[in-house]
């Protein structure tokens, strides 16, 4: 495609990864966005995704630095490498955004999500639900004679698996927090 030989890949000096691989494969990325904790900042981020037609698989937000008035937004999104780069650049353009980190490419990271599941049933089903909850290390946070509310923490995949098992055992409703993520190591 190119007449001149140009090396690919980002340069070590550039703050932006401006040379994405030329791929059309849809990838899932987890982005951590550090923002000023001010009115409307979440609306700016969500408006960017809806206005430009990007996907949000999960989004969480909370203040993480009270003295610095900083909030951390964790977004799980999907797109081709070009779209992911565009999402990061567009996020970086929002004035109250301090930092944008792509945890998927910046080295190893941990991801956790919390879910609450209400399961109703009696007899064997009730016993089986409790047994499976034990295997998944889910806690019982509410109990009646005919129901449990389980609290489970883990990767989204683990929660999916647990929910799939609970469905035939009487899963009534579920609330999920969305993914929180941090890079591993001292940095």
């Amino acid at each position: 495609m190119n007449a001149l030989q140009i090396k690919k890949g980002s340069t070590k000096h550039s703050a932006y990864n401006l040379r994405p691989t030329f791929s059309d494969v849809i990838e899932t990325h987890t982005l951590a966005v550090l923002v000023d904790n001010e009115a409307g900042v979440l609306a700016r981020v969500i408006g960017l995704f809806s206005g430009r037609g990007y996907n949000i698989d999960s989004l969480t937000v909370a203040e993480v630095d009270h003295t610095g008035h900083l909030s951390r937004i964790t977004i799980v999104t999907r797109g081709t490498p070009q779209v992911i780069e565009q999402i990061k650049a567009q996020l970086g353009r929002i004035v109250p955004v301090h930092e944008v980190h792509d945890l998927t490419v910046e080295g190893p990271s941990v991801e956790r999500e919390l879910a609450l599941l209400k399961v109703s049933g009696d007899g064997d089903k009730r016993v089986e639900a409790l047994r499976l909850a034990d295997i998944f290390r889910a806690n019982v946070v509410d109990s009646t004679l005919s129901s449990f509310v389980f609290e489970i923490t883990g990767t989204p995949e683990k929660i999916d698996a647990f929910a799939d098992l609970m469905r035939p055992l009487g899963l009534l409703e579920m609330a999920r927090t969305g993914v929180a993520a941090l890079s591993r190591g001292a940095r």
Binding site: T11, S14, G40, G51, A89
Partner: protein, 584 residues
């Protein structure tokens, strides 16, 4: 310097401290305290527009022609919503605008009060940033930061929503911070490794081309100077987008003219066939690229832009450089000179040979008429009779805009104000008012179509009230010309609602406002009529009745690449294919 004052007084004080001399606005209930302060001072001129959209476009004209931010003051609710089109326009064209809106008092927000609208909510996607200020003490900081954000990095419109109780209450005013203490400070210096790579590519390229845009003009006069130096020293051809006209002089020897959908044949062919494309402050807009997968298929592409999100958004580039155009151009020149000013002179000579062949096509030729005024001819005469004058041109949107870009020439930046990205009909007239305010002694002409012009014709009142001698040069074809052209090419000549019925008598209209009207219908009278317009000391509506069915050429039909240009009416049959028809 800190002192106690009301929020309303802070607004006026902050504007003074930011060096603002002109505000375009319209009063209303929620901004009365600020208007009261405006009344009690003489440092800032307030231009009363006739519609808030006009205020924003006027501020854009002021900003584009001076490089300084334009300032707008409007009321809550409808005042703010009327400003939205102007904000969207300024966002797409990267124009620094500071809009101040009144808001219902803080304790009424959310109660659906009279003239209440969620202004920051409505304007969030059409501003670079916006603020709702709920405490008077926070107001001066936000006001100063607003000017910083609007003018730093890629410029754009910002909005500050100020509830009425915040305007009345007293607080502590603080002067603008000295030096830049703001966290928001986009990178201006380009990466030297990338710059060196670009210079290396430039040295060996056989068919290089500079493709420049509005970013060069936004970067300031130094950027235009450096661009001229680089282009002339390297000898490479240069083309520009609609937004970038004037950064490199149209009289310069390397100038190919504008590129894009209605750009010049030689510019588009050169873009298609080049082996090195250097994009400086342009953004691969769809009016420029045509069909993406066939866009300049054999070139290495470099892109200089201060906004990282512009890079690789539409076209994947090989050499990305994030930085301010002036800073990067300076470094490119430095590196290129240090490496011995090398160019592939042999390749370049052959390249110019090819370009000269394309120029011979003479793509702007048209069939003139002795009976009716051809719009192209009207612009040729306007160009001839105003060339060399201290001239500023604004336009509305449509065929006349493209013809103006093709037939008028610009040798300096900031002389050409047009709505490029949003394509806002009704932009040109208020913009001409803003330009004339900034340049009271200059000749300011709005090249218009009759339909666009009617969209903000109420601003005649503003022009007359403030004695602004703006010239409204209306190419009147009694049609929505560009819509009509597309209906001819694409919709079987079914001209659905694309004609102007019940037009006013423009001469009488001018006179009704207390301005001068000139009607011209005969090509033989055109020169005298234009001279009469220029020499009249006051606003003029020039009603130039032109050929009704003229189409704008050359044209890249939608869905086609650069080398598939239509050069005239004979080539239009079935020019737009099924895939192209869905594009705008």
């Amino acid at each position: 310097m800190t002192r106690q004052m009301t929020g309303a007084k802070m607004v006026v004080q902050a504007l003074k401290d930011q060096g603002v001399d002109t505000v375009f606005g319209y009063p209303g209930g929620a901004v009365l305290p600020i208007y009261d302060e405006v009344f009690q001072q003489n440092d800032i001129r307030h231009i009363l527009v006739r519609h808030e959209q006009g205020a924003v476009h006027a501020a854009e004209g002021y900003a584009r022609s001076t490089g300084k931010p334009g300032v707008v003051l409007v009321t809550s609710g409808p005042g703010a919503t009327n400003a939205v089109t102007g904000l969207a326009d300024a966002l797409l064209d990267s124009i620094p605008i500071v809009v101040l809106t009144g808001q219902v008092p803080t304790f009424m927000i959310g109660s659906d009060g009279f003239q209440e609208a969620d202004t920051v909510g409505i304007t969030r996607p059409c501003t670079k940033h916006n603020w709702l200020v709920k405490e008077t003490d926070a107001l001066p900081g936000v006001l100063h930061q607003a000017f910083h954000v609007a003018t730093t990095g890629r410029p754009g419109p910002v909005l500050i929503d100020i509830p009425k109780d915040v305007q009345f209450a007293s607080g502590t005013y603080t002067a603008p911070p000295k030096g830049s203490t703001y966290r928001y400070n986009p990178q201006v210096k380009g990466d030297m490794e990338e710059i060196t790579e670009l210079v290396a590519a430039l040295e060996t390229a056989k068919r290089p081309i500079f493709y420049t845009g509005g970013g060069v003009i936004n970067s300031g006069p130094a950027a235009s100077q450096l661009l001229r130096e680089l282009v002339d020293a390297t000898g490479a051809p240069i083309t520009s987008t609609l937004m970038g006209l004037g950064a490199y002089p149209a009289s310069g020897k390397n100038w190919l003219g504008m590129l894009g959908m209605h750009g010049l044949y030689e510019a588009n062919m050169a873009m298609h066939d080049c082996d090195l494309m250097i994009n400086i402050g342009a953004r691969f807009d769809d009016r420029i690229t045509g069909r993406i997968d066939a866009f300049s298929p054999n070139s290495t592409k470099a892109h200089i832009d201060i906004d990282p999100s512009s890079i690789n958004k539409v076209i994947r580039v090989d050499i990305p450089i994030v930085g301010d155009v002036a800073h990067v151009l300076e470094d490119i020149l430095k590196v290129w000179k240090a490496r011995g000013r090398k160019m592939n002179r042999e390749g370049l000579a052959k390249w110019w040979g090819k370009i000269d062949e394309w120029k011979k096509v003479d793509c702007l030729k048209f069939t003139n008429s002795a009976k009716t005024i051809k719009p192209q001819y009207a612009l040729q005469r306007l160009e001839e009779l105003t060339k060399g004058r201290d001239r500023y041109i604004t336009t509305e949107v449509g065929q006349h805009q493209m013809w103006a870009a093709q037939y008028l020439t610009f040798d300096e930046p900031n002389r050409w104000m047009t709505s490029g990205g949003l394509g806002t009909m009704g932009y040109g007239f208020p913009a001409s008012i803003g330009v004339q305010m900034a340049h009271p002694e200059s000749l300011v002409i709005n090249v218009a179509g009759e339909a666009s012009w009617l969209m903000n014709m109420q601003e005649m009142g503003t022009a007359v009230q403030f004695r602004l001698p703006v010239k409204q040069f209306i190419l009147n074809n009694e049609r929505l010309g560009m819509v009509r052209q597309w209906q001819e090419l694409l919709h079987g000549e079914r001209y659905s609602h694309s004609w102007s019925e019940a037009l006013p008598d423009f001469v009488k209209l001018a006179e009704a406002f207390g301005a001068k009207g000139i009607l011209c219908t005969d090509p033989a009278d055109l020169d005298d009529a234009i001279m009469e317009m220029i020499n009249y000391d006051g606003p003029v509506i020039f009603d130039c009745l032109v050929e009704k069915h003229e189409n704008c050429f050359p044209m890249i039909p939608s869905g086609e690449p650069h080398n598939k240009m239509l050069l005239g009416d004979a080539s239009t049959k079935d020019a737009i294919k099924e895939g192209g028809a869905v594009l705008v």
